[in-house]
């Protein structure tokens, strides 16, 4: 199979933008990405988005955004896999080029969450879970993750303070990222004293609600060098799913879809976890950050909080994890997040990420939908 490259990226800052809707946010990211390829035409648009239907009463998002971003009357559609929509959109865009149907495809991600108060946004987010058997009872997404966090802390005997190293590092990294939503540092003490959302998850364990859009331009080997001087290769890509009813899973402390998708991506790229220089992993909640590090093969089960406390995975270490600040502090514009992660890793490998820079040739991005229900993992190479 011939190689596929990322030839352009564009991001908006993540935040509360009362003056921008889905179309304005997306057009901003798309125009930045198009500028990188000299405003050449793209042949198709795939959009990752979760909640345009539930929060903005907007379906048919592909057509709306292709039109509004001035892409012409090209094939365009939305891909939805809850918080993993972005990763699934990249997977789809990649497949369209790999199939030989197109040479240049734009993959976008956009989310507009700040139209409504938290209880309504949380309800829309909770639709990522099993509607008949989880959401039915009123459990939020934070609630589901809290069940896992308690089990993680009990099983591996990890204290509240040891868990807090994740948000501390993420906020520190995000404070340097101009695109990040939460550009301030926090202490372990502040994490431990922040309000309880769903015990033991506190506010500072949780990713924020925000708006944002990201765009990537993928190109076939045939045209990549004509469009960019610094194309980044998508060397490996894997995707997997798991039981949506979380309680059905045999092991609640590992997300099998992460393990399987990463295995696929590593095999395709012919690398191992130790070869990764920079990783953007899905940390919607503190506990997920730690479990993902273990499932991706970067760390041993239950040992990650302690290792991170000792300085592992901080800038300068290999791999450096979430130099963007992660979902925790860069922000989590749900369906756009997976596209942000891939764009950030591509920028790291090109050497032009505007925040904390990581030296290296190999990067990883992991996008999760639901509580490890749909996972896409990518390996990028310079």
């Amino acid at each position: 199979m011939s190689k596929i490259y990322i030839v352009g990226v564009g991001l908006t800052k993540i935040g509360r933008f009362f003056d921008k809707g889905l179309r304005e946010l997306f057009a901003e990211a798309a125009s930045k990405a198009l500028e990188e390829i000299g405003n050449e035409n793209v042949q198709a648009l795939i959009v990752g988005n979760m909640m345009s239907s539930s929060l903005s009463e907007q379906d048919n998002l592909g057509a709306l955004l292709a039109d509004h971003a001035g892409l012409g009357k090209i094939p365009a559609f939305k891909v939805e896999a809850a918080c993993g929509s972005g990763g699934a959109a990249v997977y789809t865009g990649y497949s369209l080029i790999a199939s030989g149907l197109f040479d240049v495809v734009m993959v976008g991600g956009v989310e507009k969450q700040t139209e409504y108060p938290t209880r309504i946004v949380s309800k829309a987010l909770a639709q990522a879970a099993d509607a008949e058997y989880e959401l039915f009872y009123g459990i939020s997404f934070t609630g589901l993750n809290a069940l896992i966090m308690r089990l993680y802390m009990d099983t591996y005997n990890v204290s509240r303070d040891e868990m807090s190293v994740w948000p501390v590092l993420m906020h520190k990294n995000a404070s340097k990222n101009p695109y990040a939503q939460l550009r301030f540092e926090v202490t372990k003490d502040q994490v431990a004293k922040s309000i309880v959302i769903a015990d033991p998850i506190r506010l500072l364990d949780s990713s924020p609600i925000g708006d944002g859009a990201a765009a990537l331009i993928l190109a076939s080997e045939k045209v990549a060098r004509k469009l960019s001087d610094t194309p980044i290769e998508v060397a490996g890509i894997g995707m997997a799913t798991d039981h949506i009813y979380v309680a059905y899973r045999e092991n609640l402390l590992s997300l099998e879809a992460t393990v399987l998708s990463a295995k696929g991506a590593y095999r395709m790229a012919k690398i191992e976890p130790k070869d990764i220089d920079v990783a953007e992993v899905h940390d919607a909640f503190t506990v997920l950050g730690f479990i993902n590090m273990e499932d991706l093969g970067f760390s041993e089960r239950g040992k990650t909080p302690k290792l991170m406390d000792e300085g592992r995975f901080w800038p300068g270490d290999k791999p450096t994890v979430n130099p963007s600040g992660g979902l925790k502090a860069r922000g989590h514009p749900v369906g756009a997040t997976g596209v942000y992660q891939v764009a950030e890793v591509a920028m790291q490998l090109r050497g032009d990420f505007p925040g904390i820079k990581v030296e290296g040739d190999v990067g990883l991005a992991q996008s999760i939908g639901g509580l490890g229900t749909t996972v896409t993992t990518l390996v990028l190479k310079r």
């Binding site: 938290t118 209880r119 309504i120 949380s122 309800k123 909770a126 099993d130 008949e132 058997y133 989880e134 959401l135 039915f136 009872y137 009123g138 459990i139 939020s140 934070t142 609630g143 809290a146 069940l147 896992i148 308690r150 089990l151 009990d154 309000i195 309880v196 959302i197 769903a198 015990d199 033991p200 998850i201 039981h243 009813y245 979380v246 309680a247 059905y248 609640l252």
Partner: protein, 152 residues
Amino acid sequence: MKISVPRVWRELKSHYLLEASVCTKCGKIHYPPRTICDNCKNHKLIRRKLSGEGEVLTYTVQYVVLEGYREHAPIIFAIVKLKEGVNVLAPLTDVKPENVRVGLKVTAVLRKITEDGDLGLIKYGIKFKPMKEFRNEGNVAYESEKRTRKNS
């Protein structure tokens, strides 16, 4: 979203009676019930009521609740491991948050889950209550269930 009559009716047995599907070939029990066995791909499954007795595997006290559940806040949710070895997610009731612990023995009871405003439908389902010593009738969850609907 409004509570839909056919949607509630369709899931009655699994929600009210904790009815699971059982594979006629490999014997695997599935909750929520399935159409096809995920272990052996068999399509011939029968329905069986679960005991409803088990113990708390993990739990959370959810303070920030979703639209429609405010009168029940805070809600204690647990994954309960039933005697049959099947895990079920449901709220706990008749117990104070400070009395919940991993390993707590519980049994399933039918309770109100939520309702469509003051005049709409009421949705019922399973909650788990402690079997003996930690049952507490003066707690928040219990009180909220006894609360009568406001006059509109």
